[in-house]
Amino acid sequence: MITGHLLSAADLSKDEALNLLSTAKELAAITDGPNKKLPTLRGKTVVNLFFEDSTRTRISFETAAKRLSADVINFSAKGSSVSKGESLKDTAQTLQAMGADAVVIRHGSSGAAKRLADTQWIQAAIINAGDGTHEHPTQALLDAFTIKQHLRNDKSDLTGIRVLIVGDILHSRVARSNVLLLTKLGAQVVLVAPPTLLPVGVGDWPVEISYDLDSQIEKCDVVMMLRIQLERMADSFFPTEREYSRRYGLNSARLAKLSKSAIVMHPGPMNRGLEISADSADDLKSVIIDQVKNGVAVRMAVLYELLGGAQIGESK
C-alpha cells in the first residue's frame, strides 16, 4: 500500500504498483454495478488545485473522489487570486486552513508537487497530477492498467510486452512516468522521436531509442502516441508539422503494419491529423477511450490508499 503522497512513479515499488492496479480492478467492477457510489471517504475533502488547463485529469479525479463520497473542491488558477499574484505558498496555506485532506495538483513548474509535500505549508496528502515536464504518475498507472487489461491476465506483470512511446519525449511528463513505471513492471520500452525531441541524458534511461518509427512499428505490442505540445513548440524542434506527421505520425498505413493483438494509446488531448490520424484514433485497435474510463478507477484506488485508512499520526 502507498502512504503519504504520490509524487512520482518512481516512488512506487513493483508490488505497490501491482497491488494498486488490482485494487483499481475491484473498484472498476464495483462502479460498473448499479450503485456507483461507495461510502469509503465520507467526510474527507479533496482539492483539485489546477494551475494548468486540463479536461480529462481534473474530471477524472473529481469523479473518482465523488464515487468514494469525498467532497471535492475545484480550484483553477484562472478566476482565482492567483491571477492577482498570490503565491503557491499562500494558496496552500489557505487550503490548509479550510481543512483539505488531499490536494491534487497540476502545475506548470516541474517539482511543484514535491515542493508542497516537502514544506509544512499544508498537511494534506499531495497527489501529483502533472508538474511541468517532469511527471504524471496517475497517467502512467492508468496506462499500465489499460495495457494489463488488454494484453495480460490478472496476476502477472508486464514482462515481455514491447511498448513504443512516440513523439515529444522531451516535454512529456507522461513519457517520463511511463518509462519509470512500465520498465519497473517488466515491459520493454522503446522511445521513438526525432533527436531534437529527446531529453539530454536519455541514454541512461532503461529504454531503447529509435529515430525511425517504420522500423519499430511491426514488432511492438503497444504504440503510445504523445501529443505534440504546440504551446511548448516555440523553438523549432522540427521543420514543419507536415514533415513531423509524415515521419512520426500514426496513419492508416502504419496502423496496418501493427501486429494483430497490438493496441494504440494516446494520453489525450489528441491533435487529430498531426501525431495521430482520425481513422487511427477511431480504429478498433485504439483503446484511448478505455484509458479515460480506467483513469477513474485508478484514481479511486490512489485516493483510497492515501486517504482510506488511518493517516500518519492519526492512529487509534
Binding site: 488490482s22 475491484e26 467492477a29 464495483i30 448499479p34 482510506g308
Partner: protein, 173 residues
C-alpha cells in the same frame, strides 16, 4: 491455547449447516451463498460443494466488505479482495452470508451495506462456523457451527486447509 474444533468437527458442522440451510429455504431454487473473504469464502465453497452433492448446484459468490468497514479510519488501508457475483445476481434471492467467526457483528453490518450496493435480495441469512459472543450490534446468526463462550481477551483462530494447510479452530488466550 486449546483446540475447539478438530478437522472432523468442522466437517460435521459444515454438513449440518448445509442441511439446515436447505431445510429452511426449502431447496436451492432461490438460494445464493456469499462468502466473506478470506476464510468465509472457503467455507461458502465447502457448503456449496456439499449442497451440490445432495441437491444440485447452488449459486455461490464472494463479497469483499473492506470499503464498508466502520473501523476503516482506525487502521492502515488494506488491499481490496475480489467480489464475485454469481451469474444470476442477488436481486430477489434468499442470500446466505457465510463467515468464519461471529464476534462484534461489525463485519456483518458492513456486509449488509455491501449487499445494499449490489442489489436487493428477498432475505439475508447468516451462517458462521463459530459464534463467540460479545456482540456490539443487534445481529445474530441463523446457522451456527458451534457456540463457544469466550472471554473478550481471548481470540478464536480458524484454520482452513485451503488457506492455512490444516483444518482447525483454536482458542488463543
Amino acid at each position: 491455547m486449546s483446540i475447539l474444533l478438530s478437522s472432523s468437527d468442522i466437517d460435521r458442522a459444515i454438513k449440518r449447516i448445509s442441511h439446515e440451510i436447505l431445510e429452511h429455504n426449502q431447496g436451492i431454487t432461490n438460494l445464493v451463498l456469499m462468502g466473506i473473504p478470506t476464510r468465509g469464502a472457503y467455507l461458502a465453497d465447502r457448503i456449496s460443494a456439499f449442497i451440490t452433492e445432495i441437491e444440485g448446484p447452488v449459486a455461490t459468490g464472494v463479497l469483499d466488505i473492506t470499503l464498508h468497514r466502520d473501523d476503516l479510519r482506525l487502521r492502515p488501508p488494506k488491499p481490496l479482495l475480489p467480489t464475485k457475483l454469481p451469474p444470476g445476481g442477488i436481486e430477489g434471492k434468499d442470500l446466505v452470508l457465510v463467515d468464519d467467526v461471529l464476534f462484534s457483528g461489525r463485519t456483518i453490518r458492513a456486509a449488509l451495506d455491501a449487499i445494499g450496493e449490489l442489489g436487493r435480495p428477498r432475505s439475508v441469512q447468516l451462517a458462521v462456523l463459530v459464534d463467540r459472543g460479545h456482540r456490539e450490534l443487534p445481529i445474530r446468526a441463523d446457522y451456527v457451527g458451534k457456540n463457544i463462550p469466550t472471554s473478550k481477551s481471548e481470540s478464536v483462530k480458524v484454520h482452513l486447509s485451503e488457506y492455512d494447510n490444516e483444518d482447525l479452530v483454536e482458542l488463543i488466550k
